[in-house]
Symmetry: C2
Subunit: 245 residues, 2 copies
């Protein structure tokens, strides 16, 4: 029942989590990519998602900061630079701000995170704390949603360009870049957990970590749907598209 899986069996189990729990299955995703969001809903999505983008370097640096293996630290370091930028590359957070700027959102308002849904911030910080507090293996495993990201990015680029007249190619560099970054990172992390999760307890920890991460992503779309689609109850103090319309 709780015997040890082969590495490939573990991979199958992880891919099954993606097939049943990844946020491409969430109804908000279908609205967004199918062109059925209005501009205010797309703004709300981009504004809230900024909180997630902005937290990723802290998450990854926290992982590096508790890692005694120089190989893993070296491999992981470029993730921080991917988001914060280095040299001529402004980084993923700046690329996200191109998107929010193109949507008409004030940069300082976005970066202040004042208008983000509290539920977004709670989910994002739960992810950061998970990576700081769980085992290193679980921390690495929680990154594995990137295995499922390329398809969502493809759908996002084509769906948003096709359906929204307020979206054009100029605001899409974040997603274009992630098409290359995410698979490289995901392959490394997958190899790592397949190699390092040798006991059934460790394998269960990896499975639970990826499940947890899908909950982090799912809960963010739940909160967006609730506040901005139906029933449309915006919590006190959160972004209201009417205020900038």
């Amino acid at each position: 029942m709780t015997g040890v899986m082969t590495p490939d069996q573990l991979e199958d189990r992880l891919r099954q989590i993606g097939a049943t729990r990844y946020h491409n299955l969430h109804p908000f995703h279908a609205l967004l990519h199918g062109g059925r969001c209005d501009k205010g809903q797309v703004q709300a999505w981009a504004l809230n998602r900024f909180c997630y983008q902005a937290a990723i370097p802290r998450k990854d640096a926290s992982l590096i900061g508790r890692c005694h293996d120089p190989e893993l630290r070296r491999e992981w370091l470029h993730r921080v630079a991917d988001h914060d930028g280095s040299g001529d590359d402004p980084g993923g957070i700046e690329r996200w701000l191109i998107l929010t700027g193109g949507l008409g959102l004030d940069r300082d308002y976005v970066t202040s995170q004042r208008g983000a849904l509290p539920a977004t911030r709670f989910a994002v910080e739960a992810y950061v704390h998970f990576v700081r507090e769980k085992s290193l293996l679980e921390a690495v495993a929680s990154s594995l949603t990137e295995l499922f990201a390329p398809r969502i990015h493809h759908e996002r680029i084509s769906g948003m360009l096709e359906h929204y007249d307020f979206i054009d190619e100029s605001v899409m560099p974040y997603f274009r870049r992630r098409l290359n970054q995410a698979p490289r990172d995901a392959d490394f992390a997958l190899d790592y957990v397949k190699r390092e999760a040798r006991t059934s307890e460790q394998q269960q920890g990896v499975i639970d970590a990826l499940t947890f991460k899908t909950e982090i992503l799912w809960a963010q779309l739940d909160a967006l749907y609730f506040a901005y689609v139906a029933p449309g109850f915006i919590p006190p103090g959160a972004f209201d598209p009417k205020d900038i319309a």
Copy 2:
């Protein structure tokens, strides 16, 4: 503009946060206390709220654990016992389990928190982390939602007894007890922040901490409403009343 308030002005400002942001203003609250929830929705509420109850002793012990002032530690300690019990008193968590048991929920299922909404867990843990990581003054201030609790407990007791045939006096000891505990604790914490928040920065920290705490409570009701009222999208793996109906 950002001058120092008198202690009584600060209290007024804090009571104003309660008047505009406390979760008695949330639509789920009106449904619950007005008798317009079905049994499954009341179960979902009690099941999710258990996560909050269960976290309170960790939150309070964390506060004590970072406090260098023996007076404050001594004063705060009874909060842990109030929830975990001591001597003949089984404590608030056990009293909450009387409620969930009376609603037909399996004790182990409730205490495992397996069926709780991820958004509930994220909000609850955000509260625990806030108390561990912010200043002691902010940690104390975040408890001040108890100033507004007695009214909600009164409404809850009378509303639930009146409207639900699956609720009777036998499951209400949690709320009965809190009617006495919460005001005592709130008065102490209010006196503390009025005395200790002497700069405008400290006062703003207190205001922000109480605002944050109202967001913690509000987000939990948002998540319940979304999953179990409208649109009624239960996240993968969360409690589904149909499974035990």
